[in-house]
């Protein structure tokens, strides 16, 4: 029994390897940018440990350095991370047998990337708490390490914008978006969200463009299901 648990833990760590190769350049880019925006290594570590959400961390660091107030940073973080609702919801059928304590520990490590890996693994092999723990600890470990190292060496690099590092976040969004797109409905939803967000941003400014556009576009997607089959 104990050996079986150790085996599952090892499988989780092994499944984290491709995630870690993605987290290292993105995490380093975050650390470099954050340190150049005046973040200490300690606050970079704290953010990667407690928040652990790549896109939200990039956005928050940029907003804080521009002097945004706490409420708008936290609200934007919430909106950006609302997408994890779905990921958590789709993992829930596998977690009924876990204790609430284990469920809440596993939930902390859900990201776009760990979700993609754990969802397909559990669908084929069934769920074990040890697999999730191994996957999540190794993934977050690499994220923390990459962001902190980026923070330590970031200030020595000169202007990060010169190196193109500031484009890492947009590139990550492009990658994540195309990984999500599987059919015409997805394409319709993304075009609708993009156009609406653009119009709201230009007309109103601020940060509400994202949530309004996302809510309207997702609703349009549900309605369009009546006409579009695939």
């Amino acid at each position: 029994m104990e050996e079986n648990k150790l085996n599952e833990l090892k499988k989780g760590v092994k499944a984290a390897v491709p995630i870690m190769t993605g987290y290292i350049p993105i995490g380093a880019a975050f650390g470099i940018l954050a340190s150049q925006q005046g973040f200490t290594t300690g606050t970079i570590f704290l953010m990667s440990l407690l928040v652990y959400a790549g896109s939200a961390q990039f956005i928050a660091a940029a907003m804080i350095s521009e002097g945004a107030d706490a409420v708008s940073v936290i609200t934007t973080t919430f909106l950006v991370n609302l997408r994890h609702l779905l990921m958590s919801a789709s993992l829930s059928p596998y977690m009924g047998k876990f204790s609430t304590w284990l469920q809440s520990v596993i939930a902390f490590g859900i990201t776009d990337e760990t979700f993609a890996v754990s969802e397909s693994y559990t669908r084929h092999n069934g769920a074990s708490g040890q697999f999730f723990l191994g996957l999540h600890m190794a993934s977050q470990g690499s994220w923390i390490l990459a962001t902190v190292l980026g923070g330590i060496f970031g200030t020595g690099l000169g202007q990060a914008t010169k190196w193109g590092i500031d484009f890492a976040l947009s590139a990550m969004f492009i990658g994540l978006l195309l990984m999500q797109l599987k059919d015409k409905k997805g394409l319709l939803v993304s075009i609708c969200a993009g156009v609406l967000s653009l119009a709201l941003k230009i007309k109103l400014g601020g940060n509400f463009n994202v949530i309004i556009a996302a809510v309207v576009a997702a609703t349009a997607g549900v309605i369009a299901e009546k006409w579009i089959k695939k």
């Binding site: 190769t21 993105i26 407690l50 997408r83 609702l85 990921m87 958590s88 469920q103 939803v189 997702a218």
Partner: protein, 107 residues
């Protein structure tokens, strides 16, 4: 700066954790309507597109569709590589290298 940043980080950690934990805790106990799950399925795509469009097309508060827009230009190879490889690492490296080259050309 640090004290304000630490407070923001604590707030961020709460609003990040809630969407991760609540569905598991609640859905392992109760049943949700089917339409809601279908609606939720579109949220990741919609949020990403809504974040990305202004990032690539708005500069200084206005629509920027010219060759002066480096973000838009750097996005082109990113989209192609992401479409071909579906690999986050390769896409991010493509984006950074494209922006680096554009910075050299425009300098």
């Amino acid at each position: 700066m640090d004290k304000k940043v630490i407070l923001i980080i604590l707030g961020m950690s709460i609003v990040t954790y809630l969407p991760r934990v609540l569905p598991i805790i609640v859905l392992t106990k109760v049943k949700t309507p089917e339409w809601f799950m279908r609606w939720l399925k579109y949220i990741p795509t919609a949020v990403l597109a809504a974040l990305l469009a202004p990032e690539l097309l708005v500069s200084g508060g206005t629509l920027e569709l010219s060759l002066k827009n480096k973000n838009l230009l750097a996005a082109v190879p990113c989209f192609m590589v992401a479409y071909k490889t579906k690999n986050l690492f390769v896409t991010v490296v493509t984006g950074i290298v494209s922006m680096l080259l554009l910075n050299l050309i425009y300098a």
